[in-house]
């Protein structure tokens, strides 16, 4: 299968082999990956709880997002880079793992949810003000985001238990 050949090639690159063979490198990269995910999910939860209208109500939603999201993006970049490095070290097995595949699908869903929200639901975000009543679109986007990201964490943990 062409995909398998590409994955095996990826696994055979110098960097991928170094990571998989070096006892210290994989755990260190994985630890940074975990730290990055912790920050991505934690900061997104802060924003989502504001969108749902449950927390940080004294702060305007637009301001909160502008404050927090740069850190979310920074952490996401680190998570993506470390994730790619980890993936490359065992590409074929990860690619065929149900929970890894699911995690990628969920990340795409999270991205779509975010894109739709920013393009459609958040257009008048600066007019909401510091209030509990957020538009239904925002509540939906926030709740969906929470569900998807919690599942991302769950699937990520399950990869470790189901990798062959």
């Amino acid at each position: 299968m062409d995909l398998d050949r590409a994955l095996l090639w990826l696994q055979s690159t110098a960097i991928a082999q170094t990571i998989s063979e070096n006892e210290m490198l994989f755990p260190w990269i994985e630890s940074i990956h975990v730290l990055a995910i912790v920050l991505v999910v934690g900061t997104i939860v802060v924003v989502d709880l504001r969108l749902i209208g449950v927390a940080s109500l004294d702060r305007a939603a637009g301001t909160l997002m502008r404050d927090v999201l740069p850190f979310t993006w920074g952490a996401f970049v680190v998570a993506a880079i470390t994730g790619s490095l980890l993936f490359s070290s065992n590409a074929r097995d990860y690619a065929h793992n149900f929970f890894f595949e699911g995690k990628l699908v969920l990340l795409v869903l999270a991205g779509l949810n975010m894109a739709v929200f920013h393009l459609v639901g958040a257009r008048d975000i600066d007019r909401w003000g510091p209030t509990r009543r957020t538009p239904l679109a925002a509540k939906t986007a926030g709740a969906a985001s929470l569900l998807v990201w919690m599942t991302v964490v769950a699937f990520g943990r399950w990869i470790g238990f189901t990798l062959h």
Partner: protein, 168 residues
């Protein structure tokens, strides 16, 4: 680890390993991964909330608000999820006593956690006594020191947590 503490931990480990609760948790395949997932989500809440406060102390986040306000908003999300962390952590210890209690990475994690809780308490007390702590014009060294130490501790805790799996 002093020999007395080591012996006590070994005794506790052996006792836990023989409880029926420990066996039950081990044979139900989904319990440990699910509990670990909850544990990770709780860490996300705690570490990110602590980070928001620490960044404010460094003037890098929500600098237009008094540090006291930012702290009042986020510190509850350090304390309450900490309870979830302790509960899920206890469950994980009961399920796999040897993997945790006798593991140097786990022991280090607990020491770091105690330090992080202590630093957070110091910060809370400081903010209560000094309304302008961490704000412009107030002495910056203590605020910076607390923020940096706090961030380093939470990072180290997360790293130590992952290393439990690698320390056999």
């Amino acid at each position: 680890m002093g020999p007395a503490i080591g012996k006590w931990l070994s005794a506790l480990t052996t006792w836990l390993e023989h409880t029926s609760l420990s066996h039950a948790l081990q044979v139900t395949s989904w319990v440990v991964p699910t509990t670990q997932t909850i544990h990770i989500l709780a860490i996300a809440a705690v570490a990110s909330s602590a980070l928001m406060v620490d960044l404010r102390l460094l003037g890098a986040f929500a600098a237009d608000q008094p540090a006291r306000n930012v702290s009042a908003r986020f510190l509850p999300f350090v304390w309450w999820p900490l309870i979830v962390l302790l509960a899920s952590g206890a469950l994980l210890i009961i399920a796999e006593p040897g993997r945790s209690l006798r593991n140097p990475a786990f022991q280090l994690k607990m020491l770091l956690l105690a330090a992080a809780i202590a630093v957070t308490l110091v910060l809370q007390r400081r903010l209560r006594r000094d309304a302008s702590f961490g704000d412009r014009g107030a002495p910056r060294l203590a605020a910076t020191a607390i923020a940096v130490v706090s961030m380093l501790l939470w990072c180290a805790i997360i790293f130590a947590g992952r290393w439990i799996a690698y320390y056999r």
